[in-house]
Symmetry: C2
Subunit: 172 residues, 2 copies
DNA sequence: GTAATATCACTCACCTACTTAGTAACTTGG
DNA sequence: CCAAGTTACTAAGTAGGTGAGTGATATTAC
């Protein structure tokens, strides 16, 4: 407030000492907000899910972008530009990602049949194996959790997950 | 296989042309795996949730680490080292994160009462406001989705979310 | 009580993975 | 058939991380 050398002018800027729960805080901004076990569980899921790629990539000796690239390339071959769009980075960055995957033997470049500008990046067995074996324990656990549902319950869960996804998309 | 200059020796390493669905692929590694609407919805949720921090941080003019730091500091003040543990980075990195938050007016450093080694990092109103207003639309949507559940349904959803979280933790 | 050890916050040098800007090769629409 | 667009890439610069090490303070062992 009176720090002359401070480069960023602003309004209310004092520390907030009073311990207030997240939920209380949220209710001042989102009146409809009511905490619940499911929302807390969702919060926790999202937190853990966000750490997974970093950790899995670290163990595999890959960058997070390389890991995500392999995941996308598992579904279908694609060019560096398309990969860049999936990753949310520039094509310059994805060019480097592909370089590193190729150097590791996890992917190969091949010319696109019918369009001389394009390169197709194809995942190799080595890349596929890396992803599948690293993620297998998770998929086993997810399958088990999912199998425990009745069809009616599964429908409820799916509706909830789609609603939560839509809520998150509202930020983007 | 016969590329002499290749630095990474390995076994099976040819491109995988055959188009195979993720689900089929997974079943060879995780026999119990059966795709389902709920699992697909979960996959989508996790994907979107992973993009949210990057996008929100970009709009707020923060790095992803700065954003996550503010989220953690909303719950309680803590020192740079504790913050580093939460973020999964070194204390050297979190020292820089705190520098940048302080320079922005989103946080303040203060000496810890009773332990002369420690510094407490306290979020300011400015930092709190930044986070709450950026995330408000999401919380509103989540609250709406959650409110649509009966108590019995909420219990089912919570159990599922906790199961999924546990499955992900199995990787870490 | 004091010596050894641990913890906290920080600095420095270095590295990785990104960005922006620009280029060459190729395809396509008018 | 040529102007405009797309693809893949390179080069130079930058942000934000790591690893190693320092000084101050706290804790533990003896």
């Amino acid at each position: 407030m009176s720090d002359i050398t401070d480069p960023t002018p602003r309004g209310a800027n004092h520390p907030t000492d009073e311990r207030t729960s997240d939920a209380e805080m949220l209710q001042t901004v989102v009146p409809a907000y009511r905490s619940s076990g499911s929302l807390e569980a969702l919060q926790e899921l999202v937190d853990v899910a966000g750490q997974v790629p970093h950790e899995v990539a670290r163990r595999a000796g890959l960058s997070v972008s390389e890991l995500h690239s392999l995941r996308h390339l598992m579904a279908a071959p694609m060019g560096p530009v398309e990969l860049a769009r999936e990753l949310g980075v520039t094509s310059a960055a994805s060019s480097g990602v592909v370089d590193r995957l190729v150097a590791r033997g996890h992917a190969q470049r091949r010319p696109h049949a019918g369009d001389g500008r394009r390169t197709e990046v194809v995942i190799t067995d080595s890349g596929r194996l890396e992803i599948l074996t690293r993620l297998a324990p998770m998929f086993a656990g997810l399958a088990e959790t999912d199998a425990a549902l009745t069809d009616a319950e599964r429908a409820v869960v799916e509706r909830y997950l789609r609603g939560a996804t839509a809520a998150m998309r509202a930020l983007m």
